[in-house]
């Protein structure tokens, strides 16, 4: 159970500053530590709850489930465990919702499901999210929280980053606004696909954001590694994202953006 999602006990501890907090208080604060501002990870369900209009979310494609296409060692077991842990069939929850009554098509990754890794199901759900944006002429919002491609699906996984990119290209071609939100972590194959080529990219503060595992990057480099390497702050300084948005400002920011960018869809 994550501190931000409503812990089982009365108390919980901040993952960053280690302060003991009232679980209910942290829950009310959307998982943001009142002491140090640390943004604890949220489940997809809680993310949807705190972001979109109350009751507006309708889940779709919930019946998609991962199979084991290349019979990869222990993959089936891992899938069963992740299902048991999260109650979901894969790491992406997708559907339609509303932001201040503006309809949007959304996909949210749950890091708890095998590190939010991108396999066939996650990519299919994300692609269908873009397709729903195209069909319904609504903005698309994707929250990422992923370690990257799901290596247990082998080359299928690599192809998923092309597949989601293809869907983004169609949206761009048809003037469907697409907002990508990085949450902790947004890495590797996910960063090198749909997440990085949105019209507007927002990130939660301090989220881990990068292409290669930090160990790999540092090994590959003789030069000094900056202190904030592979954080939201680092990629902002380097022009890769539009804004760092604290969690409690995320909903109003998204509302403004879909109002502004989606004006042409509403005539």
């Amino acid at each position: 159970m994550r501190p931000g999602d409503g812990a089982s006990g009365v108390f919980c501890q901040c993952a960053e500053c280690k302060k003991i907090l009232l679980a209910g208080e942290l829950f009310e604060a959307l998982g943001v530590c009142p002491n140090c501002g640390h943004h604890h990870r949220l489940s997809a369900a809680r993310r949807i709850e705190v972001t979109f209009d109350p009751g507006s979310f309708e889940e779709l494609d919930a019946d998609l489930r991962s199979i084991d296409p290349i019979e990869f060692p222990e993959y089936s077991e891992k899938l069963r465990k992740a299902e048991a842990k999260t109650g979901s069939r894969d790491g992406v929850v997708s559907g339609v919702a509303a932001l201040d009554e503006i309809p949007v098509s959304v996909a949210v990754t749950d890091f708890d499901f095998m590190g939010g890794s991108l396999g066939s199901v996650a990519a299919e759900k994300i692609v269908r999210t873009f397709e729903r944006g195209l069909e319904r002429k609504t903005p698309v919002i994707v929250f990422s929280a992923s370690g990257g491609a799901r290596m247990q699906e082998g080359l299928f996984s690599l192809m998923q980053i092309a597949k989601t990119t293809a869907a983004v290209q169609r949206c761009r071609d048809q003037a469907i606004p697409y907002i990508s939100v990085f949450t902790d972590p947004t890495m590797a194959g996910v960063l090198a696909s749909h997440a990085s080529i949105a019209d507007v990219i927002l990130s939660e503060p301090k989220a881990l954001v990068g292409f290669a595992g930090a160990r790999v990057s540092k090994q590959a480099q003789v030069s000094k590694v900056p202190d904030n390497f592979q954080t939201a702050e680092f990629v902002f300084e380097h022009g890769m994202i539009d804004r760092i948005v604290p969690r409690k400002e995320m909903r109003p920011t998204l509302i403004r953006l879909v109002r502004a960018l989606g004006g042409h869809l509403r005539g």
Binding site: D63, R65, L155, I161, A166, A192, S193
Partner: protein, 325 residues
């Protein structure tokens, strides 16, 4: 298990060395001795060839990794220089720098203008450094995008040669957006209204490879590999032991044969007897024939159809269950 291609081909090397000695002996031997020696040479040659047959008809995934990385295999520029005429290299991302791990430019194939782009590795220390081991930085992908754009505007087919261990993973590449560059390059390839053929001829290393491999036809050489993660990296994550690359290679099913079986590539180009590194001209010829065939087939479609085909192909990739379990 062998850890490098040289180690793995050692028995062959020994046979070749023995053969060399016999030939030297035969050259200086008396006529009656020579007949005997020549019989032994013929035997040795047969043995060597049978050995090659056996080794290369049963290449396991890990051996394919070793062969795909062999520095004697033709590299992208070897294919480009041999198969195309009047190649003019074009360079620059118009943003930051020149990248030598990806080369590209205009050329003619069968008298027709084409745009060619490929990863390029080096064969000696200086070349390897100059080419950054075939690991492109953001500049490389942004140059590729510029060339893709140009090809699209001037209706030139695009041919890409894929051979990279991975995109450059360094701090510099991160700071200039290697992820964005790869994603944007793929996106650009989905925009193209011209035929696109990609040839994975060595290492198809993850995002670094797919960044220039969103093609209507993806062809793989018989012993090339294509993988979401290097097997050593996979082993390090799975078993915390990078030395278990051979097992990871098997688990990842990173061979051309698996990729074709899964419908993730479109064709396999057979390599000469004993692999492309044993007969580069033969490998280049085979690639040329495959390119000619696939480009001719794609030439029958108009731009919209080509773009739609590319989309439909990648859209359909992925395997999952739907409905009640």
């Amino acid at each position: 298990m062998a850890k490098t291609w040289k180690e793995w081909e050692k028995p062959l090397l020994e046979l070749d060395e023995a053969l060399g000695k016999l030939r030297e002996l035969a050259r200086v031997a008396t006529p009656d001795r020579r007949a005997e020696l020549e019989r032994r040479i013929a035997e040795s040659e047969q043995r060597r060839n049978r050995y090659i047959d056996v080794m290369y008809s049963r290449l396991g995934p890990w051996e394919k990794v070793l062969v795909a990385r062999a520095e004697k295999r033709p590299y992208s520029l070897d294919y480009i220089n041999a198969l195309f005429t009047e190649f003019i290299e074009l360079d620059g991302d118009r943003r930051y720098g020149a990248d030598h791990a990806i080369v590209g430019g205009v050329a003619f194939f069968d008298e027709r203008p084409v745009m060619v782009v490929g990863h390029q590795k080096g064969r000696n220390i200086q070349e390897r450094q100059y080419r950054n081991f075939g690991m492109a930085k953001p500049e490389g992908y942004r140059k590729a995008m510029r060339l893709f754009d140009m090809a699209n505007r001037f209706r030139m087919p695009v041919v890409t040669f894929v051979d990279t261990p991975a995109a450059d993973p360094g701090v510099e590449s991160e700071s200039r957006g290697i992820s964005e560059a790869i994603a944007a390059a793929m996106q650009r390839m989905f925009e193209l209204k011209v035929p696109v053929v990609s040839v994975v001829h060595g290492e198809g290393g993850s995002g670094g490879a797919i960044g220039i491999a969103v093609a209507n036809r993806v062809l793989m050489l018989e012993h090339a590999i294509y993988s979401v993660i290097p097997p050593e990296g996979c082993a390090a994550i799975l078993w915390r032991d990078p030395d278990r690359g051979p097992q990871a290679a098997a688990a990842l099913r990173l061979t051309a044969q698996s990729a074709l079986e899964y419908g993730l590539i479109d064709d396999i180009i057979l390599e000469p007897h004993g692999g492309a590194h044993r007969d580069p001209p033969g490998a280049i010829r085979a690639v040329g024939e495959a390119l000619a065939r696939h480009l001719a087939e794609l030439g029958a479609f108009d731009g919209e159809a080509l773009q739609a085909d590319r989309y439909a192909k990648f859209r359909a990739m992925g395997r999952f269950g739907e409905g009640a379990a």
